[in-house]
């Protein structure tokens, strides 16, 4: 009995011992190969402060540093959060070449940006055709401080599925500057690009920046989602977004069990005349509670789902009016702006003009902002 156990144990130990180095070597080879296709992206913005009395004008350069992945000889994919507001974008390769890149297009909703580097020929990464599955081994290759390459091996731990998108949660440790880094499968093919890592827990509605220690939970946008955005940006420099034609506000209740605020849905504050929402039968005062069989918790979520849908798509909405549940189909139009418009009704009831709280449209969308804006009645409350 004992010898048999010992034998089995030794056999198992030998198998594990043999398998480990082989896997590590494989991951090393994948990272080594992909390292040449991953670049550091440096997005610079210069802010000129006007001269004060007796002083000279000060100009200061801010740089946002992230990673980028070559998917064609001179086309690089990165995240929009890296290059937003940039006036000048530099790309630095693994062997120390630095060139200026042109922004071919970016989409703040899907958080994807496309760069062209005519002065470089990069070895590009093959793209995986199969969707990532739970437990798949993933190698993440990116850049961090001083444009150094980072590397991490992990697995797909969870897949967050939304009506239009999904997000892979990995065990890989990512570093600051890894936004836009390459996530590779065991064949060395690109399965997605890194978005970020688990931030610090939220408190009091403020967004804490999860900096300092790596949390060991990273998030990757899968390639299936990246591909249509990439193709659209490459073709036209922009990505069309769906448009419902409503203005909504949050509707929350305080839970009786734990005292937390729970979102109930999106309260319709205004409907664009003749817009998709009005044609679907929505009216002011309705509470939208579902979008394509998914529960709507808050308006931000609903706005994101609508924006992530292609114009022309028919979506199913469920709303509550009075005590009655109703439903209807809305054929989405095309959003005039690159981001949903947010306004804060002024605390002063006499002031009728709404203040724009987050007006940060992408450069491409600037100029078209305001077209087709929804009339919001702010005096009614």
């Amino acid at each position: 009995m004992l010898p048999a156990c010992l034998c089995a144990f030794l056999l198992a130990a030998a198998t594990v011992g043999a398998a480990r180095p082989a896997r590590a070597a494989e991951a090393d080879a994948i990272a080594e190969r992909a390292g040449h296709s991953v670049v550091a992206v440096l997005a610079q913005r210069t802010v000129d402060r006007p001269a004060r009395r007796g002083g000279a004008a000060v100009s200061r350069t801010y740089t946002r540093a992230g990673s980028g992945v070559a998917v064609e000889e001179n086309v690089i994919v990165t995240t929009a959060s890296v290059v937003r507001e940039a006036r000048r974008i530099l790309v630095r390769t693994s062997n120390g070449l630095q060139v200026e890149a042109q922004l071919a297009g970016m989409d703040p909703v899907f958080n994807v940006a496309l760069l062209r580097v005519p002065d470089l020929r990069l070895p590009w990464l093959r793209v995986s055709d199969a969707p990532a599955r739970l437990g798949d081994q993933v190698v993440v290759v990116g850049t961090s401080y001083r444009a150094q390459t980072t590397r991490s091996v992990g697995t797909v731990e969870f897949i967050y599925r939304e009506p239009r998108t999904s997000l892979l949660q990995l065990t890989n440790v990512v570093q600051p500057g890894n936004s836009g880094a390459a996530a590779l499968n065991s064949q060395g093919q690109l399965i997605g690009i890194v978005q970020g890592e688990m931030g610090a827990p939220e408190s009091g509605g403020t967004r804490a920046r999860g900096r300092g220690r790596p949390s060991g939970m990273s998030f990757v946008m899968p390639i299936a989602q990246l591909r249509p955005v990439y193709e659209s940006l490459k073709r036209s420099g922009r990505m069309p977004h769906g448009y419902l034609g409503v203005s909504t506000s949050a509707e929350v209740v305080r839970s009786e069990t734990d005292g937390e605020l729970v979102g109930l849905g999106a309260r319709v504050e205004g409907v664009q005349p003749g817009g998709p929402a009005e044609r679907a039968g929505l009216r002011r005062g309705d509470l939208i509670v579902a979008f394509d069989n998914e529960r709507v918790d808050d308006p931000e979520q609903l706005a994101r789902w609508v924006f992530e849908t292609r114009p022309g798509t028919t979506v199913r909405l469920v709303w509550v009016r009075g005590e009655v549940q109703r439903e209807g189909q809305a054929s989405l139009g095309e959003a005039p702006d690159s981001l949903p418009a947010r306004t804060t009704p002024s605390a002063d009831p006499d002031a009728s003009s709404a203040r724009v709280r987050t007006a940060r449209p992408s450069p491409a969308a600037r100029g078209s902002a305001g077209d087709g804006a929804v009339a919001v009645d702010t005096s009614g409350r």
């Binding site: 190969r33 200061r60 350069t61 801010y62 740089t63 540093a65 992230g66 070559a70 995240t79 959060s81 937003r84 630095r92 390769t93 693994s94 062997n95 120390g96 070449l97 630095q98 060139v99 909703v109 899907f110 958080n111 005519p118 002065d119 444009a147 150094q148 390459t149 967050y160 500057g177 936004s179 836009g180 978005q195 970020g196 890592e197 688990m198 931030g199 509605g205 967004r207 939970m217 998030f219 419902l244 409503v246 909504t248 506000s249 949050a250 979102g263 504050e269 205004g270 808050d298 308006p299 931000e300 706005a303 924006f307 959003a335 981001l339 947010r342 306004t343 804060t344 804006a373 702010t378």
Partner: protein, 205 residues
Amino acid sequence: MSCDRARRLFGACWDDELTHAEREWLEAHLAGCARCRKEYDEYSRALELVGTLPRAEAPPDLVERVLARSRHAAVAPDALSAAPARWAPALAAAAAVVVLAVAALLVLPRAPWRGPGADSSSPVAVTSGGPAVPVLVSGAGPDADGPQGLRPAEKEAVAADDPFDHSADVEFILDPVSVNRGRATVSHAGSRQADTEGERTIISF
């Protein structure tokens, strides 16, 4: 009848070779004919798909082999003359492969990282065009192998431009992701967390 005419224009439309009148006619037809619209969608999707295929590398002796075989075919015409018309697509495909291979052979020497002498997969600077000359950054990784076409004099110019000095204001981007009730949200410019406790926001979309 008009559907046939529309389908004959698909290729030219994809290549952007239609006259203005033809384009207008085709667009009007597509607007009114669901079948042709579907056909054109499929057609363009197929071409897009083909366009994304990786470029195959031709073996170095392909040209010689193809030429030798075509010479052989020329002296033995019987092998081909008996071939029925259904071979035509295969022949066209073979011809396309030859053209691609020759094109690839012509292009390949311009891609030095694929060449026999160079490192097999390093990024390479394109030195022939453009005012922006790639520069080798001082203090780069140990594998900085001094690629061709770099001017050492440019190093100083880069040093002033280098964001990695102490006075530079550099932020390393890694977007925070928050998870709530089975939904993960990346906090970047395009997505904001619902601000349930803050002031009331009206969002239009």
